[in-house]
Subunit: 331 residues, 2 copies
């Protein structure tokens, strides 16, 4: 099914930089929500009523537009939803499966960048890089005396929740620092023999010095790090989250940090982005970044190529490169 000019019609529901948008328009007839200036409901209704309604949609990972039953009712022509993120928590996978709508995500495009950022956050928390930065920039170095010691990476037991594309890359990097790798996932990975597997996150936390959240967000992993897990991690423990904010019970995390029940945190994601709990701003043992773990020029470029490859596969009747199924999303 193609529009005038022979290009297949796609629904674009996220903002893209101009080179990405241009590359899409060269290949597809793009119905661009943000460029339309219309309210979402009116935009979707018009798209659905077009002579060549869209069969594929591009949505933003973790965005405000949810691909749920109501959305699919509005544009019943859709047969493929492509998320530009690794996470698909904004897509109702069961509903898509029921209707025969295939789903794809960014696959491994972001995995190395997110893993790099996770390691950066961990070094920062343990070695107090951002805190030292504030100390230097405030002019405190020449006038103050002792500076608090950091904590060595080597020998740290790092528990990774979700040993998928991202988690396994984090593990590989941290092995080079002399860390000991533990992990939790729904099932042990047959291919992984050198990392100890923990069937539940509480036990993983109890045995770990550092807990890194690297799993997808879904009904099983919402608040997978809760009050009990934080207490099991303990007062010398550090938590790193590059998954989704709601993987961690943020209110309990703030309490644990305030009460010294854990030692520190490095957070790239938050439960109500862009809102970050104000209590964290006064803490020197937390590192806070604005969901930038995927933000590199190279991954943007890779994402553009990957998105087009998936859409071309879909429109030519080939298998999607990075399909997402309802049962494949824990790690």
């Amino acid at each position: 099914m193609a529009s005038a000019g022979g290009k297949p019609t796609i629904l674009l529901l996220r903002r893209l930089d101009s080179s990405f948008a241009t590359a899409l328009r060269e290949r597809f007839h793009v119905l661009d929500f943000h460029a339309s200036g219309e309210p979402l409901a009116a935009f979707l209704a018009a798209a659905a009523a077009a002579p060549e309604p869209p069969r594929a949609a591009i949505v933003v990972g973790g965005g405000s537009i949810r691909a749920d039953a109501s959305f699919l009712d509005t544009v019943p022509s859709l047969r493929c939803i492509f998320s530009t993120g690794a996470g698909v928590d904004h897509i109702d996978l069961a509903e898509c499966a029921r209707r025969g709508v295939s789903v794809a995500n960014s696959g491994e495009v972001y995995s190395t960048d997110v893993a790099d950022h996770a390691v950066g956050l961990l070094i920062d928390v343990l070695r107090r890089v951002s805190a030292a930065e504030r100390y230097v920039r405030s002019g405190s170095w020449p006038v103050q005396g002792d500076y608090p010691l950091g904590s060595k990476l080597g020998g740290k037991r790092v528990g990774i929740i979700g040993l998928g594309n991202i988690g396994s890359r984090i593990a590989k990097r941290l092995e080079a620092f002399g860390c000991v790798i533990y992990y939790n996932s729904r099932r042990p990975k047959d291919s992984v023999v050198s990392y100890k597997y923990f069937p539940n996150v509480h036990d993983l936390a109890a045995k770990s010095d550092v807990l890194i959240v690297a799993c997808a967000l879904n009904k099983w992993t919402r608040h997978i790090v809760n009050k009990d897990v934080l207490e099991a991690l303990g007062k010398d423990g550090v938590i790193i989250n590059i998954g989704r904010g709601a993987n961690v019970d943020e209110a309990e995390l703030v309490v644990a940090l305030k009460d010294g029940k854990i030692a520190g945190a490095g957070l790239d994601v938050f439960e109500n982005e862009p809102r970050v709990p104000g209590e964290l701003f006064s803490m020197d043992n937390v590192v806070l970044t604005n969901h930038v773990a995927v933000f590199t020029a190279q991954s943007r470029s890779d994402l553009c190529a990957h998105t087009i490859s998936n859409l071309e596969a879909f429109f030519s009747g080939q298998p999607l490169l990075t399909p997402v199924h309802d049962d494949s999303i824990v790690d």
Copy 2:
């Protein structure tokens, strides 16, 4: 030669935490400059005139007390100088050798921590961690729009100046991130075949995306990164310095950053510590820490054990564990 109580006398010329000081006093008769409250000249003269003058001294790495001919003239009984740092730029090695005064340093005690910090600085500069931190803590995230993209670690050509204890550990870590490792040192390392060797730093900079200074400071390496090297590194290049401030021509570095002749810098050391050039404070592409690359509780504890082992070796006539010679100090 021992003091009353049978303990050998040592000169302590740096401040130590209490557990380290206690461990020393259990084994040695410690003449403690900072505890004495005396001016340095008077303190040294009194030590030299004591019935059991000190044969060993502990000095701080990179500190203000220089172990030069004048110092050695003042306390002629000294036969061993132990630096608690890896760098010995404050010790006149040639003069020590001429007088038969042996020198030892901290060896590999700090190497992993410094390597970890170097990698942390590099991730921070490339992925804008501290800059994102400021953005979040200032409350900008909810009100501002686009955030600038960072740069991927994978594929970066990293030129390491000095492939010694620290540089080789930096290389090992960055290999796990998919970086390509180049290096410069006075001689190629026979044991290293997988990293390309560059006999001079200018050529290394010209071929590298990132330059990491991991060499000792001495007459050959002072300002080894100068204006020409910075220009060879180029406008997309990043410099990381965890060596000594004076390995880099700091004034030229500031100019290069201001003029956009290089892309960014991560600096743990400065030419006139604790003074940091004020121009750097307004830059978002630099990361500044207060010479904390060695600051972990674990390395402090390791240093205590290592110092005592070296001193006990010296006083029992055994070889020092980590001797430093005049020709062994580039990398």
